[in-house]
């Protein structure tokens, strides 16, 4: 098993994205199925080494961790299955609904669409790490006050997307809230109350 940290040139997010374009991730998955640890494939203009698994260091909810992940493994799988942080949900598992939204270095990402190895060295914040001890984050409190949920399954994703939105835009207009949450799907259809919750949270955050 390779340790990414020890490599001379750690694989950057950019390299991974490029490798995805070259179909190398598929090759990585094949190698895993075949039981091999790594292989080299032609990926664009030059040869590059592809890892099939590695150990990544990351901070999750403020805790520094080292986790082993396979090349095809997503951040969502690592969070849910290895770290038992089940707040982020597996809903569509293909980047269509935002149910798995977490903050990666402060920005909302779909954890189902983020390779675990892409999170190497990153700070990950999930819904479990949002409250300050017993004190809920204003977005969380607003979702309770405004009934910004029904079944609650999409809620962690909506909350993290809302936190991400308010980090970028502290005073969003109604239309900016709508647009900011356009990547998240609530099948129960409670959008109007979710908008109200985000608006209320923005007011609270603006006052503090």
């Amino acid at each position: 098993m390779e340790n990414l940290r020890k490599k001379k040139k750690p694989v950057s997010r950019r390299a991974f994205l490029q490798s995805m374009g070259g179909g190398a991730v598929g090759a990585g998955v094949v190698s895993r199925v075949l039981g091999k640890e790594s292989l080299s494939v032609q990926a664009g203009p030059g040869d590059m080494e592809i890892v099939s698994s590695g150990t990544l260091s990351l901070s999750v909810n403020g805790k520094k961790l080292k986790v082993t992940a396979e090349a095809g493994e997503t951040l969502l799988e690592v969070l849910r299955e290895k770290l038992r942080l089940t707040g982020a949900k597996r809903v569509c598992n293909r980047g269509e609904c935002g149910g798995c939204t977490v903050l990666l270095n402060g920005k909302p990402v779909y954890a189902c669409h983020t390779l675990a190895l892409q999170a190497d060295g990153a700070e990950v914040l999930t819904v479990e790490g949002l409250a300050d001890g017993d004190k809920l984050h204003p977005v969380q409190q607003a979702f309770i006050d405004k009934d910004g949920y029904q079944c609650g399954f999409c809620t962690p994703g909506f909350i993290m997307a809302s936190v991400g939105l308010l980090k970028k835009n502290a005073k969003p207009t109604f239309d900016e809230i709508r647009a900011g949450l356009a990547g998240n799907l609530c099948r129960c259809g409670n959008y109007q109350k979710i908008y109200a919750a985000v608006g209320a949270a923005a007011d609270v955050l603006g006052r503090t």
Binding site: E128, N184, C188, N190
Partner: protein, 760 residues
């Protein structure tokens, strides 16, 4: 090998349970299990009931602590995957699991099918392995031999002579309903205007965010199953039947569930499979369907092709109404849509014929307001088209044919019917006078329209529902019911009813539900939960309150009738300074004391239904065919509202889902392969943030004192029922031509605009 029985037609059980099903004694007042008349509190007396109460479990949901079936992991747990048929019609020749079982990490395997395959996705075999990925790898090693047969997936093709036969016998078309009242032919002769139109609905998939899934764990002969379900009791009973073990050995648990909308009302084949694999492997087994499987293997709303013919006098009086409906629910019998046609409007002459067509697709399942939702596109569409033909206000036409009794004013009187108030309130809020008096009169590239559609649905609740309220010597209070919270706020409504009755705060009450061992409650479907559970909880809490008052009267030396329970105290009504804290009072309780409550019966001498109306304003771009919904006003008469906060949310959801089905949602089948071509959230488009209009949820607040001890009806289905039809009618008002088929995709809107016939 004994094979898992297929899960037939979830609708049947659902429809049975959703209907009013009291023994309907001729009693004039509702009774609790004690038989004593339940007191009817006046609205002003309530501190919580009818007000806004945030969910008591909100903190768990917003912190990610709420545990859904997807989130569960147990020591040694295996992951199961199901191999599904890629063929829509085939004879299964053989299944060979040898290689799959030889793969390291694969711990159990099952054959699930023999004989004829009838739809793409039918379970064929299953494996359990140490990881989901390993299980997937194992599926690829299962060898299945099929003898492929011809298939048919389009209802019109299935009705053609010589079409591949879907059922083993009896043909592809069966009569599913027949209803006659009066003489329709005579009624048409009496009419000044006769209109006939055909309206069509599509296959709408539930697509709950949490895909169907279960975890099964055996302890000797006892089975515990965690299931993403709307019905822990039904899953318990279904598992016991499928596994041929006593129901008392099965426990079904569900703490949180990510949406169901009717698709999770009974035991799933995947749940039975997980239990059998767990037995074989001797380890817990988890099964979680993928989004893809969820899209084509666990049901959808069956389609309806409704030819509606109506006769009316010049003043709008209906003289005859006929419906010919062809419904299609794959290999299932689908829905009947007759009830709104036979009951909604005053009409002496009605004839309804319904057929079901079988095709090679998985069976449909109950989908939020089965039948009624499809019905309203046709019935309420026709009312708008008829109003235009008569040159009448569509609201006036509906009032002209208002039925105060069921069976279209020919049966027994509705106990309460607040539809008139709903009409008045809704019309005012939308600004009804702003509509195009003549549909399509607005003109221009982007046209605006306002439409309306009404709703009827039982929502009376299920007599015999049980709940316990327990007082503990430490002063704490618990309420238990074998119901489930499917996202509607059941925990909160139970807590607030107890709090209201015992003078506590909702968060003081410990709520237990989602466990099949708890006192019996019906499925959470059919708008049954609140009108079943809340009265049972109220009954139990009233008994606990009597006990506490008696205890307090002894301690305080006052007559029990003078004691009130409020602000966590038992106090004298005459002199509030004479009081005792409930916690202190509870120290006089020798042991935990349960008080059993039951949702009593309701009288047979009245009919009980929910009613409502929605008004919508839309914009239609006549160049692109794109519809944008600007505003929806929803007004419903559901008796007494228990928690306005969660009730409003349910209305928002019903409106949103209806709008989504009206504009976007359609399960598209490929004729060649017999497979669904859009089994994901990208290609199966669901309304999301940028599509959402302003929605105004309102309630008539009419307490039905005869129905139960809280005068409350159900709300799950009502807001969904008119929600697609109202968009179609608003589009009609904008364009002057009714699209008559949902989803109203831009292509269908543009095609309708080109239509020359049937314009007002």
């Amino acid at each position: 090998m004994k094979l898992t029985p297929p899960i037939e037609d979830a609708y049947l059980e659902y429809a049975e349970q959703a209907k009013p099903q009291g023994t309907q004694s001729a009693a004039t007042a509702p009774t609790g299990s004690t038989g004593s008349p339940a007191p009817q509190p006046k609205p002003g007396e309530f501190k919580y009931i009818g007000k806004y109460t945030p969910r008591v479990d909100g903190r768990k949901i917003v912190t990610g602590a709420a545990r859904y079936t997807h989130d569960l992991t147990f020591e040694g747990m295996l992951y199961a995957k199901i191999l599904r048929s890629p063929h829509a019609s085939a004879e299964l020749v053989s299944i060979d699991l040898t290689e799959a079982l030889a793969l390291p990490g694969v711990k159990a395997g099952l054959k699930l099918k023999e004989g004829r395959i009838k739809w793409v996705g039918e379970p064929v075999a299953a494996v359990a392995a140490v990881s989901e990925r390993r299980a997937e790898e194992a599926l690829a090693l299962i060898k299945v031999e099929y003898n492929i047969l011809p298939h048919v997936v389009a209802p019109d093709k299935a009705m053609e002579p010589g079409a591949p036969q879907v059922p083993d016998q009896g043909g592809n078309v069966i009569k599913s309903n027949d209803y006659t009242r009066g003489d329709a032919e005579k009624g048409f002769k009496e009419a000044d205007v006769v209109l006939e139109r055909t309206y069509k609905t599509s296959w709408e998939v539930h697509q709950p965010t949490e895909t169907h899934g279960s975890v099964a764990m055996w302890d000797g002969d006892d089975l515990t199953v965690w299931d993403s379900t709307q019905a822990v009791q039904s899953v318990r009973d279904g598992l016991a039947r499928a596994l041929a073990i006593p129901a008392g050995r099965v426990k079904v648990l569900k703490e949180y569930m990510g949406g169901g909308f009717g698709s999770k009302l009974g035991v799933g084949d995947y749940t039975v499979t997980a239990a059998r694999l767990a037995k074989e492997a001797g380890r817990p087994v988890k099964i979680t369907l993928t989004r893809r499987e969820n899209s084509y293997c666990v049901g959808y709303r069956p389609s309806a092709w409704m030819t509606v013919k109506v006769g009316a006098r010049k003043d709008g009086t209906l003289t005859a109404l006929t419906l010919k409906n062809t419904n299609c629910g794959g290999v299932g019998r689908g829905d009947r849509v007759a009830e709104p046609y036979s009951d909604m409007y005053k009409c002496p002459n009605v004839k309804i014929e319904e057929n079901a067509v079988y095709v090679n697709a998985c069976g449909s399942r109950a989908t939020r307001a089965p039948g009624h939702t499809q019905a309203m596109l046709g019935l309420e569409g026709m009312m708008e088209e008829l109003a235009a033909k008569l040159g009448m206000d569509p609201l006036e036409l509906r009032m002209k044919n208002f039925a105060a009794k069921d069976k279209g004013d020919t049966g027994i009187a509705y106990s309460t019917k607040g539809l008139e108030q709903c009409y008045r309130l809704g019309a005012e809020k939308i600004g009804w006078s702003r509509r195009n008096k003549k549909p399509g009169a607005g003109g221009g590239k982007v046209r605006t329209g306002i439409g309306m559609a009404s709703q009827i649905w039982p929502g009376a609740g299920t007599p015999g529902t049980l709940a316990d309220v327990k007082l503990y010597p430490d002063g704490s209070v618990e309420v238990e019911c074998g119901t489930q919270d499917i996202g509607t706020g059941t925990r909160t409504h139970m807590a607030l009813v107890v709090a209201e009755t015992l003078g506590l705060e909702p968060q003081d009450v410990v709520v237990h539900l989602g466990n099949s061992d708890l006192p019996w409650a019906p499925i959470s479907g059919g708008s049954l939960t609140v009108p079943s559970v809340a009265p049972a909880v109220r009954d139990a809490a009233l008994k606990a309150a009597e006990y506490l008052k008696t205890l307090a009267s002894k301690k305080l030396g006052l007559p029990p009738a003078d004691i009130v329970l409020e602000n966590r105290r038992a106090a004298s009504h005459a002199d509030p300074t004479k009081a005792i804290e409930l916690k202190e009072l509870a120290r006089g309780i020798p042991r935990p004391l349960p008080f059993h409550g039951e949702r009593g019966d309701y009288p047979a001498t009245f009919a009980f239904q929910t009613f409502g109306v929605q008004f919508a304003e839309v914009e239609v771009d006549t160049e692109t065919g794109k519809v944008r919904v600007k505003k929806v006003v929803a007004v419903h008469d559901i008796g007494r509202v228990i928690n306005r906060q969660t009730a409003e949310s349910q209305v928002l959801g019903g409106v949103t889902q209806g709008m989504s089905a009206a504009l976007f949602e359609e399960k598209v089948m490929d004729a060649q392969t017999g497979a669904m071509v859009n089994p994901n959230y990208h290609d199966y488009k669901v309304a999301t943030s940028m599509d959402i209009p302003e929605i105004v949820p309102l309630f008539a607040d009419i307490v039905d004192e005869r129905l139960n001890n809280l005068g409350t009806k159900g709300l799950g289905e009502p807001p969904r029922i008119p929600a697609s039809a109202v968009i179609a009618n608003a589009v009609y008002n904008a364009l002057g031509v009714h699209v008559r088929e949902i989803p109203m995709t831009p292509a269908r809107v543009l095609a309708a605009l080109k239509r020359k016939e049937d314009r007002p």
